[in-house]
Amino acid sequence: MGLAYYPGCTLKTKARNLEEPGIASMEVLEFKLEEIPRWNCCGAVYSLAEDDLIHQVAPIRNLIRAKEQGKNKLATLCAFCFNTLKRANLLMRENAEKRNTLNSFMDEEIDYGGEVEVVHLLEVLRDEIGWEALAQKVKLPLRELKIASYYGCTLLRPREIAIDSVENPTILRKFLKALGASPVDFPYATTCCGSYQIISNPGDISEYAWDILGSALRHGAEALVLTCPLCDYNLGRGQKELMKKHSEFKGMPLFYFTQLLALALGLDSQVCHFELNYGSPESLLREKNLLS
């Protein structure tokens, strides 16, 4: 089955370890992720200003590309892109005046009214494959791997676009269960990592990272699973400094959810690009006999 797919900028460079295992895994699950033609950057953040329509053009153009292909769904792997595309889509569905203005501005494109549904790959796994069916496809159960689910912000907020319960999400826990791993709950699962503040206040980011990683550690996690390349960067880049500051912290591997999926489905570990990860995931995986 084909599924229209929007990669976004970061997945083609820094986060190939998010994209490539995702595409390969979906093929095993008989879903072909079909990259939409002529996609452009979604703008990364949804514009929060009522009078700012120009920044909606970029995400909406991508939705139009999917519509042009006759697709009614557009899947993303990047949590940031998911948020921006889904919010822009909601704007087109709910605000007739702005929809008309945007459609008349984009005069080379077909008219768009929010017909395409934006989904995150985790939703595809849950809603179109199902956890039980996924569990049956697992060839290498991730036994004894204690992983904390880190959602961050953009899959869950605002409420209108959330892929799961805003207060108590369980989608990543169920995903990990299906892969045979041991999910670890911790109170910072939905707390912001500091996001774009990394370019303005990097010192604050280290504090937020320790709140999150330290809490996961105290709750027994050996690793963290995430969906967003910016969370990955913010929680990964400063780990050496955190190890110097906090003697109990020996570093924590960060995995993209697609890497764990590919590993559990028995794909060649090369597709996971673990060399791009923070926190030496390979040594942990070898320790658990999940990597030769």
Binding site: L48, Q197, I199, N201, L230
Partner: protein, 135 residues
């Protein structure tokens, strides 16, 4: 903090613009402080988010301009989803930032980011950061 309120200091135009850009009714807020309590960045702010709302609806533009709070906000929307009054504070924070950025006053300069860091940062960090901090 103590502030002096007088008709002379009230900036009605400032209040009007914040309402226009954010689309929010500033009078919804009943100052319960949920936003300040739930904000993961509040400890790094000089004024808690709740006080920014109060200062904004009083039209105290200078007090807000002298605070770094809106530049510490990461638009994580923890306040938005938890506000018991349905007030979207993330939109008000954005409106206040934009009032500065639209005067061509940038909060950061891309040149200040070292070339090494520019190579390391994921694209979404650069794009989102420059969207939020430059005009």
């Amino acid at each position: 903090m103590s502030v002096t309120i007088s008709p002379k200091r009230l900036r009605r135009e400032f209040v009007r613009k914040i309402k226009e850009i954010s689309g929010q009714n500033l009078h919804l807020c009943y100052q319960c402080g949920m936003c300040s309590g739930i904000c993961p960045a509040a400890s790094n702010m000089d004024l808690p988010p709740r006080q920014i709302i109060e200062l904004a609806r009083l039209g105290l533009e200078e007090e807000i301009a002298n605070s770094k709070t809106v530049w510490i906000c990461a638009s994580c929307l923890a306040c938005t989803v938890n506000c018991p009054r349905g007030f979207d504070l993330s939109k008000m924070m954005e409106a206040i930032r934009l009032l500065t950025l639209r005067k061509n006053i940038d909060h950061i300069s891309p040149e200040e980011i070292s070339p090494e860091e520019r190579c390391e940062l994921p694209q979404i960090a650069m794009i989102s950061g420059l969207r939020k901090f430059t005009g």
